[in-house]
Point group: C2
Chain length 189, copies 2
């Protein structure tokens, strides 16, 4: 297939913004696959800050990172992503290269624990505030679970309202599939 | 900038589907920039079939292709793209690697001459019929001119309705700009 999946697309753009030794945020650690991707991309001289409200997810992610020998450059926080501003090192404000968000619920986890617009939108705004110029934020949206469509609508409204002088915003949808995930990519100017 | 423009994105996907010696359709020749891109990509051993209803556009495109030494592999037709099936060599049905469409009007041309849904949708369907498996069609949509939004809506409805078993369809929008162009990319399975 030539057309990329949502996951491939997110990683494609993140890779272009995140150099070895760079700084990244994983706004939704979950099973830790994206955290590992960020840790591998930035390497041992960089830093990845991961947030999740589920302790089980963080344990799984920590295990995955350790097995891959990529735990050293990662700091995991048992906290909601909308409070990331309280945990990130203040010296890195405006210096983050990349931020990834995967909304919805943890696959194979408790599907009643979902991301919600009340915390998702502030988390996205905080991550954008911390991005450097030229930094990239990706946000994968899922609409197949209860509340998913409403959250996605709010994210799209938020992204549409971003000042075009400060941000370039691309929305990718696989439009001929029902409840297909979509991806918002935001580049800070 | 990391995020691609509509034009860069269209060419990125077309390049992956169109090999040297391959076959391509330019559904809207216009000023000939995309025709030249297709001709350069497929090279002298390939073939590009271009359609436009404006003689002035075709002359301009021919001139551009000749200057670049890329006219030999191009056939230009003074015909509406919805009739391309009558002009394309029958032996190439199901063998076309790439098709490009740029809807709207010819820049610096007569802005009352625009593409219209009545012919655009049949043209897109014909181009898809002629694509090979793994072939790519791109369609750039503009909504800033009278009738543009209506045509774009029809194209999106058409693309959304394509069978997911036969086609993968990606829609890219720069959502925080007013009347920003968007791009539909269709891959035939």
């Amino acid at each position: 297939m030539i057309l990329p999946s949502i996951l491939q697309s997110a990683r494609h753009y993140i890779k272009q913004a995140l150099p070895p030794g760079g700084f990244a945020i994983d706004g939704t650690v979950g099973n830790g696959y994206d955290t590992l991707f960020l840790a591998e991309t930035t390497g041992p001289s960089g830093a990845v800050f991961g947030f999740d409200i589920q302790q089980a997810a963080l344990q799984q992610a920590r295990c995955r990172l350790e097995k891959a020998g990529q735990l050293e450059q990662v700091r995991l926080f048992h906290a909601s992503h909308h409070r990331m501003g309280e945990e990130l090192p203040p010296r890195l404000k405006g210096k983050i290269h990349a931020a990834m968000f995967n909304l919805g619920y943890l696959p194979h986890g408790d599907s009643s624990v979902i991301t919600r617009k009340e915390t998702t939108i502030p988390a996205l705004q905080t991550a954008l505030d911390w991005l450097k110029s030229g930094g990239i934020l990706t946000c994968a949206l899922y609409t197949g679970h209860p509340g998913g469509q409403e959250e996605a609508d709010h994210v799209i409204r938020f992204a549409t309202g971003l000042c075009p002088k400060s941000y370039q915003v691309l929305w990718q949808q696989l439009i001929n599939r029902k409840q297909a995930p979509s991806l918002v990519i935001i580049e800070k100017r």
